[in-house]
């Protein structure tokens, strides 16, 4: 996942690399997703996630488009 100064730079990057546009989020959205995704990563109890748990995190973060289907 790459950082861009604005939407315009994403368009440049996609054209230059001949790639289709993926999904774009604000840093505030990714910060909220990060807290859900990584908050327990140092714990001994973290053993990875089930498909259902991943889907629940995306839903909780408001990521409900087909792009986020698990």
């Amino acid at each position: 996942m790459l950082l861009f100064r604005s939407e315009e730079w994403i368009e440049h990057w996609c054209k230059r690399n001949h790639l289709e546009r993926g999904e774009t989020l604000s840093v505030a959205q990714v910060w909220e997703l990060s807290k859900l995704w990584y908050q327990d990563r140092l714990s001994l109890d973290y053993h990875g996630r089930s498909v259902e748990q991943v889907a629940e995190i995306f839903k909780h973060a408001g990521l409900t488009s087909k792009f986020w289907y698990v």
Binding site: L3, S6, W9, S26, W37, Y38, L44, G48, F67
Partner: protein
């Protein structure tokens, strides 16, 4: 092997906490010494964790390249927090490091725009992110394809 007490999950937690404490991944020798077990046993556990996507080894080696959100090599995403500097694997992981360490810890993040190559700074302060509203993070592949090519993702 799926209970918390199993060597696999103990080694996984050791890797992550070593990263958090030192900013670097532990070598197999470090883990063997910590658990007082043979290097061969740790090697097998590292490979099993790699196979389960719990960490990512450099090809044909036992060197940890990634234990998301931490990177074992320098990148364009530096996270300064708690008096230490970490490297993140990507733009998501640069936010993942403060979240993993504790979302209440302040952090200064230095990154680079992937297209303009300009430097960008963000801050986490009191659990809130402070940055330009124009900044965007692009996810090139849908979730279903993230593990097809982890380096590209």
């Amino acid at each position: 092997m799926d209970n918390t007490e199993s060597p696999l999950w103990q080694v996984r937690a050791f890797v992550y906490n070593h990263f958090a404490d030192t900013t670097h991944p532990p070598r197999v020798e470090d883990a063997a010494r910590h658990f007082n077990i043979e290097i061969e046993e740790v090697s097998a556990l590292y490979k099993e964790l790699h196979n389960r996507h719990a960490l990512f080894l450099e090809p044909e080696t036992l060197t940890i390249r990634m234990a998301n959100p931490f990177s074992g090599i320098p990148t364009d995403f530096r996270v300064h927090t708690n008096g230490k500097t970490y490297f993140a694997n990507c733009a998501w992981d640069m936010l993942g490091i403060p979240a993993a360490l504790s979302s209440r810890s302040d952090a200064l993040i230095e990154a680079v725009c992937a297209e303009s190559n300009e430097s960008v700074q963000l801050e986490i302060r009191d659990g809130e992110i402070i940055s330009s509203e124009l900044l965007k993070i692009h996810f090139p592949l849908p979730f279903a394809r993230w593990y097809d090519d982890l380096l590209f993702t």
